[in-house]
Structure formats: structure tokens, C-alpha cells
Symmetry: C2
DNA sequence: TTTTAGCACTTCTTTCGTTCGAGTGCTAAA
DNA sequence: TTTAGCACTCGAACGAAAGAAGTGCTAAAA
């Protein structure tokens, strides 16, 4: 259903006014400050009509109007003009990403940091689901005399590493044997597949060399599922300053959201790669989220998901600024991921 | 200045009552519920006296009394009996720590997780200051075809690792040369010393082999200071439910504390190793902390600090439970650290 | 001498009615 | 079709009054 131009302009004015004040917006305010060329009475009529259509809401009879989720949706899709970042803002982001961050997880973690500072909302990030990871290479490295570092490189560029302690000194030959064995057994396999069949991979063959293989395999298994689609959040306390959280109910909802993170996880899993996904209030099925908006950006490498970044903020958000910000950051990070993950010509068959 | 027994018992009762209710405590309540064998009038006299001595405070004339920082201090040092953890509670902690966590940082990070869940306050942790780390071993590992992982093992057991991307394929010989060179130059040196003199370590000699050594050294330098005495915090939102944070001022102070973390950092640096350190409200010079208590436990390995764990909560805290909890966890973690730092005796896996 | 009952006093909290202001919807005129 | 005018609604702000909690002091009891 399309709105005529006048209604759109009024809706836009209301949303912008509401963004600034967080108070219900009255007809006179719009008539005076947004010179649309109509009297308060006319605007009043239009507002009544916009409410009828579901784009506005009224807290009580004698109050002004507040944009509904549907109103914001229309605003985002049809009305607002995105405000590109200034050269300066871009420079800030670029500068931060300049520090050679090569591990995808660190990159994504850094993103939450940037996002919460840039938007002043809570930023969220999620690592890849293990279904999306397969072993590309596994490496054992002797650290000191009695520790082994396990490094697993996944085909989507994710790197996981961990340590195991050993009893006594580890003979170099054993490391190489283990190394070869592990690569032979695990290379190319999906993380989840390995996790579920770990026992079948270690058979008698290896026990003979050393039963130290057991704690090693246990740790590898931990490593595979470690942080599986775990949600990180930063800057949640930014949110506390928001007027919307003055209402006890809304605050409780928010605390609920960040405590369980289920809703966030689910939304982050859905959505399209390499694109902004915006979920406004009741657009999701989660009741706790009814006063909040979640915006996400999925990162991938060679068509494999590696993680998702985003923010959670109040529905009342400066979308025309926030969306381009996340877009820019998402793309910048995507570029860094691609850079680090570029597979160029393999030279020798080392392994 | 010692208090007579009756005053102590009254102070104890007041503190315990206040812990439960978060409301100023009146004489009648104490007389009725804590059968000390005195009438409200007598208790009233004693309360006036305890206030005179600085152990209690009165919000206003017609209100009950509230324990002061000095009151809590006396309570902790002289009055309360620590309540040991139940076997069950210990089992929970042991169980969580059972998962072979070998990296000290992960261990400390895991501790914050446990602490915030166990205490329902905000838990804090700080990594080691780089002054306390010296290079024990440095290792370069080729990952895939064009990435190098740098692993640095410090003498206090801290392990840091990072990745650098390379243009083109890295010849194996170069890695070995770099490796030897780095160990030769850096082994035994203090992190800070290296950080400040990095340029003098890389001279012409290495450029000739490959100028790829430059990004490598840059990354090593980043790695050395990465997370230097950085404060981690978890469960800050637990605190929001507290009645003390209903007061806007107190909330602001708290937000200030977690935003800057300066006060926390300073307190965590002071204090004794392997021991509980308790800082109650005005006992610190930080005005923002006047309504909060910070409890810390410093971890070390071979007399070298490796980090500090702790909590921040309201002054009104169930000290006789919280203190043993942190103590137990601190000691458990210390044990794991010592274990990892020496040799882990482990015969074989169970599964 | 110590303890306690009794009571006047202080201060905060709650409640309730009133006023005030913001903003609406409707009607009738422009 | 737009707008001025106006009665109406409802929450917010204010202030007075009542009520609750708890004190400190005095004088009697133990």
C-alpha cells in the first residue's frame, strides 16, 4: 500500500522529530518546525489517517504520535535517504582496521568495539557455526618442553588454537607422527562430523605409539566446538542511558535479551550474507524485542559464513546514519577477510 | 579500638539485616528478630554509640542505621565467621575447571565467568603487566601457504599468539632463519624492554634475507603489548538489578567505573599475591567507588604475577560467603596455573 | 547502675485532589 | 480542501494532609 507524498513527508518529519526527542510528537510541532506548508489541523488529520493505517501509534488520547514498527519499516525502505559517512568517519574506521588483524575472530571482535563506539548502542557479534567449518590443516607445535599447541585452520579462514600439557618430554618423532596422522584423518572433514565421530578416528594404531594421543584428541574435540555460534556483546551499558530504558518493563526485556541471547542468536543466523539485515521490534517473533531494533551484517569467505556482526538498539534510531555505518564497516571487514583468506597458488605439496 | 561484645553482636545483626533488606535497620527489628536479649531502647542507645564511633550511619533523623565502610571493615576482620563452601558448591567449581584449560589467559577468563555466576555481581579480571613477562621462547609456524603464526611463550606461562599475512609463498628456510634469529635476539628479554627497543634488534643483517621481516617485527611488537594489564569485566548487568543502583547518582558512578576501569586497574595492581584483598567503599581514594566493594585475588607463577581476578559489587555484600568463594576459586585457579607451569601428571584418558 | 517503657518529635513516604499543559478530534467557516 | 476555533481528554506536576517508621530523651523499674 503506497502512501501519497504528503503522508510520507509527514511520517518522515515525525520520525525525525521523535528520534531527537524520544517524546510523542504533536501536530503543532511538525507544522511549526518542518515547514511542510500545512496548518496543524491538516497535519492532525493526516496523523489520524497514518495511525489508522498502522504507521503511527498514540500512547493515550491527549498525547502526540509515535512511529510504529511498520512506520519505521516504511521509512527505511521507502522514505529515508541514507547519509553516507564523511571522509573523516571512514578514515577513522579504516585507521582502526589498519592494524594488521589477521585472525578473523579478532577482526570480528574488533568490529564490535568499533560499532559500539560509533553507534553508542550495544554491539553484537557471533562466530561461525561449526557446520560451516571444515579442517583445512591441523598443526601441532611443541611449546616449551611439555606442552603442545594445536592449531586448526578451517577452510573458511577461522583459526583455532589451544594448548595441552604433557607428562614428560615429548619426542619430536611423535609430534610428526601425530601431525601426519591427524592431517590424514581429519583434513577436509567438517567440524561437526569430526566432533561426533571422534572415537572412530583414533584406533589402536596410534595407541601403540603413545597413549598421549588421547588427551590430545580430547582437546581437539573441545577446540572444534569451542565458541560455536557464541554471541559476544559489547557496550550494553551504553543502552542504559537511553530514555526508553527508564521504563522498568523495557529495561527488564533488555536484560532478558542480553542474558539469554537466544533471540539475538536466532536473528543472526537468519539474514543474508554481505548485506544489511534490519529487524524492527515486532517484526520478530520475540516479545522481549518489541521495543528494540537489531541490525546485522553477515561475513563470509568463499561463500562460507565466518561470522556476523551487528548492533542492538532502540527502535528509535537514526537509521539513515546507522545503516550506512554498519554497511561500511561490514564491507571493510569483509574486504580484510577476503584479503587474509585469498588462496593463491599452492607451490609445493607441503603438509 | 575494640568494641565490647554486645556492640559487636548488634553491629553484626544490623549488617546481616541490612544485607537482606537493603533498607536502614531500626532498633525494634533487631530486638524482635535477632533475640539478643535486650529491648529496643537499649539497642537504640548502642546504635547511637556505634554511630558516634563511625561504624554506622544514619540517612536522616527518623531513619534506621546503615553500616559504614568502617563498620563493614570491622565486621570482616573481627566479627564474621566465614562460611565455607558446601561440597556441592566446590564440586561445581572443580567441575568447570576440570575442562582442560591450559592457557592462563583462558583460565582467568573462565574465572570471571564462574565468579559472576556464583556471586551475581560483576566479575573482573586483569592480565599481567608486560613488565612481568619475559620471552622464554618464540616460535614461527607456517599456516596455510601465506600466513605465519607467531607464538610467544613467556616465563610466567603466558602465551601469546598472532598471525601475519604474507605476500606470496614463504620459503621454509626463511622461517627457520627468522626463528633462530628471533630466539637469539629476544630470549630472556623483558616484554617492555623489547617493545621499546624493537628497532635496535632488527638490523641490516635480516633485511638482506627478506624485508618481510618488517611486518613480522611490527606484529610481534603489537603482540607484546596486546592486552597489557587490560581489564575484562563480565556480568556488569547483574548489578543493574541491585536496589543501590536505583539511585541515579550511584548508577552514574557505576557506569563511570566500568567505562574508565582506571580505579579497578589500580586496585588490582596493588594488593598481595595469593591472597584475598578487600576494598570497601571510601577505603579507596576513588569517589566513584564509595558505594562499592572490590575484592581481588592475585594469581602468580613462580613468583611472577600472571593476572588478577575479582569482583565488584555493592558494599552491602554477603561477605562471609563471597570471600570464601573467591578464595576457593582463586586457589583452585592458582593450582591449575602451577600445574600447567610445571608438569601435568596425567596417565591416560578416561574415554 | 543498667535497662526499659512511654512519649513527643522528626522526617520521609504515600495518597489524593487540584491545577496545568499538551495535544487531540470535531465543527463550521474560509 | 484547508484551517481556525474550541471543547474535551489525559497525564504530569504540585501541594496539603495523613501515615509510617524510627529516633532521642525522661523517668520509672530492675
Amino acid at each position: 500500500m503506497l502512501l501519497d507524498d504528503r503522508k510520507k513527508r509527514i511520517l518522515e518529519a515525525i520520525i525525525e522529530e521523535y528520534n531527537n526527542t524520544a517524546e510523542p510528537v504533536g501536530s503543532t510541532k511538525i507544522a511549526n518546525d518542518y515547514n511542510l506548508g500545512f496548518s496543524p489541523a491538516t497535519i492532525r488529520n493526516e496523523m489520524a489517517s497514518l495511525e489508522e493505517l498502522g504507521y503511527l501509534e498514540q500512547p493515550h488520547t491527549s498525547a502526540g504520535r509515535v512511529p510504529s514498527s511498520k512506520g519505521y519499516r516504511l521509512y527505511i525502505d521507502n522514505i529515508m535517504k541514507e547519509k553516507n559517512l564523511t571522509a573523516k568517519e571512514k578514515a577513522v574506521i579504516d585507521e582502526i582496521l589498519q592494524n594488521d588483524i589477521t585472525k578473523i575472530e579478532n577482526l570480528i571482535h574488533e568490529a564490535t568495539n568499533i560499532l559500539s563506539r560509533l553507534t553508542n548502542y550495544a554491539s553484537i557479534a557471533m562466530g561461525p557455526e561449526i557446520e560451516n567449518c571444515s579442517v583445512e590443516e591441523i598443526k601441532l607445535v611443541k611449546i616449551g618442553n611439555n606442552r603442545l599447541m594445536i592449531v586448526i585452520l578451517a577452510d573458511n579462514g577461522i583459526i583455532k588454537e589451544s594448548l595441552v600439557n604433557y607428562d614428560g618430554v615429548i619426542p619430536e618423532e611423535n609430534i610428526e607422527i601425530f601431525n601426519n596422522f591427524l592431517n590424514y584423518k581429519l583434513k577436509g572433514r567438517n567440524f561437526r562430523e569430526i566432533y561426533e565421530n571422534i572415537n572412530s578416528y583414533v584406533e589402536n594404531e596410534l595407541y601403540n605409539i603413545s597413549n598421549n594421543i588421547v588427551p590430545l584428541m580430547v582437546e581437539i574435540n573441545n577446540l572444534l566446538v569451542d565458541g560455536n555460534s557464541k554471541v559476544y556483546m559489547e557496550g550494553a551499558t551504553n543502552m542504559l542511558a537511553l530514555p526508553e530504558l527508564k521504563k522498568v518493563d523495557t529495561l527488564k526485556n533488555f536484560l532478558n535479551i542480553i542474558e539469554t541471547k537466544d533471540a539475538i542468536k536466532e536473528l543472526m543466523k537468519s539474514g543474508y550474507d554481505g548485506n544489511i539485515n534490519v529487524y524492527i521490534g515486532q517484526e520478530t517473533a520475540f516479545d522481549d524485542l518489541k521495543d528494540f531494533t537489531i541490525i546485522t551484517y553477515k561475513q563470509s569467505l568463499n561463500d562460507k559464513e565466518v561470522g556476523t556482526i551487528g548492533i542492538i538498539g532502540p527502535k528509535r534510531m537514526d537509521y539513515k546514519k546507522v545503516i550506512p555505518t554498519i554497511k561500511y564497516l561490514g564491507e571493510a571487514i569483509q574486504q580484510k577477510i577476503n584479503q587474509g583468506g585469498k588462496k593463491d597458488v599452492r607451490d609445493d605439496g607441503e603438509e
